[in-house]
Subunit: 313 residues, 3 copies
């Protein structure tokens, strides 16, 4: 039984990329693999791409989907052990996970970072709660610290568009009015760094340091222009600060991506994107934007992950 | 590629009516037409009949449905061009529509009139936003100014029950405690007027004028009794005023439909209906009410529209 | 046409238990029975087990599910006859039920007790409204006074685990911070009492008397220890008082179930359960807890009920 919780669960980039390409070419090729199998999708947070692309992937694989907005349709869950549950939480993760896993063969979970309790977020309380108690494979549909389906879709997209053997890929922070999780930046960094096929670096204002264990020895620039020089792919994303955890320290519009900054590089973003805050209209409406294709590849990323899971059952 | 946005998209009443009748007789006849096709249903507003009948129609056609309450489950959308998106809207229609259309083959959209901004409502900002950017056929599940699936179901229902060659059909305003859109009245008027098979007129209090371009030369009465004389079908519906736009100017209970007013005519309403406000219990509970059958025909109206769309892919 | 509204609709325990066992052994055995049939699921209240297990059962039977959270996705319903509907309720049960039943072959309804109006709750205003006007079989997914799918799953679970010919089964009240309905306690009592295969009794604090018509001549103890003596199965559940209706009169933690109180008996609860309020962690985490298996059996209880309904169409 295999989970898909982290980009490290992609045991071989080459094999997963080729599987995704196969699905993109012939979406219903593995239609029989999921026959009679139920995919439960639990949403603790809103979703558009993840919700639809994962459903679509399951449909291509012949799986039956059951979807729940667990907060509004089910019960508020308790994650702490030993609590006297006399407050707002009606059900413990121990029961919820064991029960739900009896109705499903695979369980997708989306649960964003709280951005309030760094320790719990980094412990992946919700995702790991389901992993621990569910007894069936768990699919990460964006958790507190990672969004591996997005990172896999991003890798597919870069591979489809790269024109050099070892393209330069830059992850750039950009401003945003609200505090956002670091999940997308983390997973993109994890999938890029140490991959000898990419010349990867990160740029962000001081105070926005990502987790050092994730960044590793990836070059980090505080001067965006320096980082963007000769870039082939510019992946743009806001995230909130790590100290104080979840804070918005900077809204400097100079970090917004413009056509001038982008140059000939491809523009990437996981979406939803705030136009003229994260990036100028001209970039999104131009020919160098890959954001729509990234979203398209979410279907095939999910399909590859589900195939690997189904084959492990 | 064909959209179904407006009753004018019904290129031939006769052919669409015969297709709907065929589906009503043998619902699964076109079951193979939608095989492998995905119908996305986006709800910006609540829905009962439209939600269920469109799903049912898709099921009859072998299509796979993916449903989203986009407001509560996805992201708030921005529709203006050039905005600096630093407020409440997280995603622009340009991205949302392009992205969603990659996951679907046909896209149903329900987005009511705001009743606050007449210009934007008449420009059909939401529906046309999806039409412009989606790149796949769009199905109107009630928009700011029209509800063509309802009008088609109404036409089917009248055709099934008419006992004369050219029945008299009256659209009558009725009171309602809240301000309601003009969509249903507009589409019903559009499908009736200029159709030589119907003797069509409208009645409403002064101040409730419908869009002159939609009304055309249809007779309009401010005296309900005069309009209802010798009617064969009485279609009742509240709508709010056009000036001031969206206002409730009149709650006069004398406009409520009673058995006496109805006489031998059939009673029609799109539902939901406020009993003893729009119409007396005795009418709805009597033999002349067609409201349940109208709702039933929503399935076959949707099925006809989806078949025409699927055949155009 | 058969409804499944009450445990009394289980015409023969033996036959239903054997049908459920058959489905548990071979879930897709009756896959063709529901082909082309639509199951509508209407939720007036939140749900996790019922929502997922009923969907799963329908999937096993080849039925197509259409699910609505009627409060948040549809319209607020009026249940009183003769009302002037000029307030918050947009649609009458008469229209809603007739309309929905045209789109479905079977209709599941979940509508909890209000705990405010005992008379309306006992009249099962919502469930019986649908029964009266729907014209198709109605499946009770927990109503104001009963939860027969839960009781059937409980009966399956006891039968699977009983080690004596006539086990002692105790229904024990336990404390809870909020006022809860009596539905689960009612249906469990109804399915146990007068069944000569079980030695059944009830225990609760004074003031928590269940409906005398439901309790019948079942022994009732106000001393929990006396009731639990030599028990084989201890079914624990909170419910609110009947006088004043819906009140929380007692939160005495001495009524919480502990491993000492349970002894060698099996522990049962319908879930969700408040840990360390209703029952100590050690019981739920121990080997005598059947709560996860009860939830699993919800699928086969629903499957048995749907098979009986489908066979009656």
């Amino acid at each position: 039984m295999k989970h898909f919780l982290h980009v490290n669960d992609i045991d071989s980039s080459a094999s997963w990329l080729s599987l995704a390409a196969e699905c993109k070419k012939e979406p219903f090729k593995y239609e029989k693999l999921g026959k009679g199998k139920v995919l439960g999708l639990l949403f603790f947070n809103n979703s558009l791409r993840t919700r639809l692309s994962t459903q679509k992937a399951a449909y291509h694989l012949g799986m039956h989907c059951m979807i729940m907005n667990i907060g509004s349709e089910g019960w508020a869950l308790e994650f702490e052990d030993g609590t006297i549950m006399d407050q707002g939480k009606a059900e413990h993760i121990k029961e919820a996970a064991q029960v739900i896993s009896q109705y499903c063969d695979v369980l997708g979970v989306r649960a964003f970072a709280s951005l309030e309790d760094k320790e719990k977020d980094e412990a992946e309380q919700v995702l790991n709660g389901f992993k621990k108690y569910a007894g069936i494979p768990v699919l990460n549909m964006e958790s507190a610290t990672g969004h591996p389906l997005q990172a896999l879709a991003d890798l597919i997209t870069i591979t489809e568009h790269q024109q050099t053997k070892r393209p330069k890929v830059v992850l750039s922070w950009a401003p945003h009015p609200r505090a956002l999780p670091q999940a997308v930046a983390n997973s993109f960094t994890s999938i890029m760094r140490n991959n000898p096929q990419f010349d990867f670096c990160v740029t962000h204002p001081r105070g926005y340091e990502l987790n050092p264990e994730i960044i590793g020895d990836s070059p980090v620039y505080h001067d965006q222009n320096e980082a963007l020089k000769d870039a082939d792919f510019v992946y743009v994303k806001n995230w909130s600060a790590s100290n104080p955890y979840g804070a918005v320290l900077n809204n400097d519009p100079h970090w917004m991506i413009t056509p001038e900054k982008l140059g000939k590089a491809y523009f990437m973003h996981c979406l939803p994107v705030r136009r003229n805050v994260i990036v100028e209209d001209a970039v999104l409406d131009g020919n160098n934007s890959l954001v729509i294709e990234q979203a398209n590849n979410r279907t095939y990323a999910a399909q590859a992950a589900l195939i690997k899971i189904l084959e492990s059952l």
